[in-house]
Structure formats: structure tokens, C-alpha cells
Symmetry: D2
């Protein structure tokens, strides 16, 4: 195990509740706290690239994620990401055809909400990042789907496998 780089980009995962304005916002990432909760002993480095809702992610943001994946000395990378455009970023990373294993994950409900899937997804995504062969995957709903065969079903909120 040579270590995993975690690139934080925001998404529902990391949304917090601002009790003065009554709205959801981004503060610091919850990923370090989640790793502690999971008693993780993995060698990971967490880098926050941005803290945005994926609906607000620009092409420049996505290019920045790609460049970080490319230049990172690790060949196993986890990207936390909003679910609404996760497949778009996955596609960009997949088409770049890097010689690395890149796993994107996120959450349907903020980690701080009692009913969040975040901790489950983080555990699964870290496992997939360690053992899957090179390629780009979306790890949601307990499984990992290749970048060119995944789509979020906006009605159910589930990530489905589609024809490549």
C-alpha cells in the first residue's frame, strides 16, 4: 500500500447547516473526522481543491481536478464530489486515460445529518481505490461503476449502470 491521495471538492458530503441564515454551506471538509470515526489506518493525504456544489463546478474547476490527478505522485486517488455532476467529472478524468486508479464518491445527504450515506460511501470508496485496477470509477450505492457506464438517475437518486 503506497498511500491514497484524497482530493476534496465539496458536494453534499461536506455541507454544513448555517444556523444564522438557515441555509446549507461549506466550511471545512469532514473527511478527516470521518477517517478518524472509521478508525482508518490507511496512509492517506487529504487535499482540499475546492468546496463547491457540483452544479456550480466550472470547466476550469474540472480541469483543475484532472491536473491534480495527473501531477499527484500517488497512483491511487479518491475524489469527493457532489453527486449531481459526478459523472461529468468522471468522464473528463476517464478520457484522460491516466495510468492510475481514480475513484469518485459523494453523499446524497450531508454527513452531519443523521441519515447520511457518507460514511458508508467513504469506506467503500477507499476499499475500491485500493484494489481496483487502473481506471476511473464512481463508487456509490455500495458498488463501483466505470466512468463510461454510469449515470445518476435523478428520480431515484441511485447511480445506475448504462451501456458504454
Amino acid at each position: 500500500m503506497n498511500g491514497i491521495r484524497i482530493l476534496v471538492t465539496g458536494g453534499t458530503f461536506d455541507k454544513a447547516y448555517d444556523e444564522l441564515s438557515g441555509s446549507l454551506f461549506f466550511q471545512d471538509s469532514h473527511v478527516p473526522e470521518m477517517l478518524r470515526l472509521g478508525r482508518s489506518c490507511l496512509k492517506v493525504e487529504v487535499r482540499t481543491l475546492m468546496m463547491v456544489d457540483s452544479l456550480d463546478m466550472s470547466d476550469a474547476d474540472r480541469t483543475s481536478i484532472l491536473e491534480h490527478c495527473r501531477s499527484c505522485p500517488r497512483d491511487r486517488i479518491l475524489v469527493t464530489h457532489g453527486t449531481d455532476r459526478m459523472e461529468v467529472t468522471a468522464r473528463l478524468l476517464g478520457q484522460a486515460d491516466l495510468d492510475k486508479t481514480i475513484v469518485l464518491t459523494g453523499a446524497m445527504v450531508p454527513y452531519k445529518f443523521g441519515s447520511s450515506d457518507g460514511l458508508f460511501n467513504l469506506g467503500a470508496a477507499l476499499a475500491f481505490a485500493q484494489v481496483l485496477p487502473r481506471g476511473v470509477y464512481v463508487a456509490m450505492n455500495g458498488r463501483a461503476l466505470p466512468w463510461d457506464r454510469v449515470r445518476k438517475n435523478r428520480k431515484t437518486g441511485m447511480f445506475e449502470e448504462i451501456e458504454a
Copy 2:
């Protein structure tokens, strides 16, 4: 994906708090609820074999787990288990040398306690169960260690890799 059989045996994972006696006990497994929380869309079948603390697990209990692994039509199996004797059961399953992928997992803190690692571990274990080659593994602390190279460090509570 041909489905994963989940064999529930109890352990800290599933301990509940009995508010009348003030002690921890076993009721029903939390695994189905955890799968819902994780928005899992995996094809899984959950079977409760027993609900025991692994310190109370007998040789007959362990043999029963082995027989269920052997006779199960699935070749990908997840066993939830108390952490104190997880390595003992893993060894028995490993020495049986079945042509299956078997992953054991558990939790250091009951799922219902706020600070539980259970959901993280379940996510990771399900991921490992899908992609690791045949063999028997302990999935804790974010990683999967082979049955003949794992030991729980009783001082730190972490599962460590040892020489086979």
C-alpha cells in the same frame, strides 16, 4: 455481480442498549438498516446465524459459520463478527481453503452509538467482497488483511498486519 451473502454472527456491531437493565445486549441485526442508510443497491441476502459476542463463540459456532460458507451458493460472502476473536474464525475459514471470497468485518463501537465505525466498515467490507480474489480477509480500519497475516492489537484496538 452475482450477489453477496451476508452472514450475521453478532459482535459489537449489533449490540443495543437495554434501558431497563442498563447493559448491552443483542436484539435484531442492524445490517438491513445500515444497507438502507448506505443506499446500497447491491444484491445481498442477509442471514443471521447467531447473535453472540465473539468472546462467547464456541468451536461449534465457528464450525457452523464454516459450513454456511461452504454450502452457500454464493461465492462472495461477508461475515459480521465480534472483533475480539475475528482472527480465530478467519483462520478456520482460511484453512478450509474454499473457492470463495470471504470478508469478515465488525465494529469497535456499536452502530447505534454516535461514534461507531460500523457504517464505514460495512461499506469497505462490501467493496472488498466484490473485488478481492478468492481468499479469506479481515476488513477493518479501512483495509483488508489476509486471514493468515492479521492480528488485533489489544492495546490500540487496531488490526495489524503480521508475518504469515
Copy 3:
């Protein structure tokens, strides 16, 4: 104890997270679940009058709350309410000078968020509703302030006592 009528009007208290749209919304009230969690053995009747953010509450809404307080056969009433306009509704109810004890409460963070003050506030408000003399009070931050001497400090989120 002749029973307490709980009038639900919405507010942060009862906001849920819609995982498909990524926004906060109202579904059913969490008050019954919270009473169970508090192992309450109080004789209460819960009535949902509306489910709105108090910023969206109209004069007609407020008049409806007043009419329900007036016509209700109970003389001890708890109103759950958004915090932003709680003092406005309290003033209307206070000026009506009913021969009843009416306590308004709410939450700064939705009950379903881990860091919610909701359960604490509900416990305090129910206690105040049982023992305070007739009058209208805002129960927040652990204390009960009379309707004509309370103001929400929008910078700190705390309810402060002011000159009548």
C-alpha cells in the same frame, strides 16, 4: 396535569433534507418522534396547523395560530415555530391576553442534524408550559422570556431579554 396541546407550525425544527433536490423542506413533524425519544409520559395532543418557515408566515397564518390558541379547550399550549419571526407571533398572542399559558419554541438547527438544539428546547418548553403562570413566553436557550421582553439577536442567534 390536564394535558398540553402542541400546535406545530413548522420552522427549522421540522426541516428535513430532500436528497434529490439537495434542499431543505418540510414533510411530517418530528414532534411525535421527539416525544418518544424523551420517553414523555405527558398527556399531549399534537396538531399540525401549517408547515412553514416563519419568514414565510403571513398575517393570516398568525391569526390562525391565535384562533387555535383561543378555541383550544386546553389552557396550556406549546407552539413550535420558526425562530426568525417567533417574537412576532409571540407578540400577537401576548396582546390577545388569553387566560392561558402559551409557550413558543423552535430550533436553530433541524432536529435531524446531529447538532440540533431541538430536543433540549422541546424538553424545556414542555416543562415551562406546565408550570409557568398564564402568559405568553418564548422558550429558547434554556430559559423562558415573556413575549414583550424578547428579541432574537440575529448576529448571535440567541434570544435576549429586552426592556418591556
Copy 4:
């Protein structure tokens, strides 16, 4: 409001889970954290007298609690306490007939468990401590019962009113 003294004695309220031994134990009190969660702006002083299960409380322990209530400069006191012998300590305090308002509270489930009644009870007990006349009360299940008319029903876990 001249301030409330909170005397911490332990009880289920404050039990934590020791993940190495798999048992419940006492560490520091959760009361300060719970007051923050409740956004309490009450003037309180928290003193930890002991950290014991009320089943393990000795007569000397109970006498110590009484002496602290007597010598405390505040006349409004909250005692956190295990539920199993809460009525015994309440009786001792009640028979001492101090010129103070003393409220005992606790929890059926540890605060750190998801399903705890602790935060609800703390909110209610603080409210009762502020407004009830001098006397000794047990604040559980949403209400306050006088020390000479309360008994824990060991089958239901509820505190019931009995004949004085």
C-alpha cells in the same frame, strides 16, 4: 435569575463506551457539551461530585450530595443522577428540608447513544429548576414529581406518581 448549580454524580447519562474492553464506563461528564448543544445561555456552574452508577452509590456518597446542596451558595440546584436509585437520593434531600429548589434528572440511555432521552431531560430539568418553588423533584419523562411521590417502575422504566 441568579444562576443554577449543576452537581454531576454520573448515571447512565454520562456513560461512555470503552471500545477496548467493550463495556460501558465513566469518563468526563457530557453536561457541558449538552449545554452547548442546547445553546443554553443560562448562568450555570457545573461541579462533578462523583461519577458512579447509582446502584453503586453508598450512603456516604448520598450524604456528600446532600452536603453540597446545603453548602452551595445557589438556591437552585440540578443533580444529574443514575435512574435506578434516583428516588433514594431524592428522599434524603427532601427530608433535609432545605430552603432550595433541587431537581434530579438522568437518562435511560447514555447521551452518546442515538436514542438517548438525555438532552430532552436536561432541557426539562433546567426549566423546572428555574421556576418550581422550593422543594426536591425528580424530572423525568417530561414532568417533575415531588420527592415523596415518585417511584421508578422497573418494568416500564417510567417514573410514576405515587401516594405521598
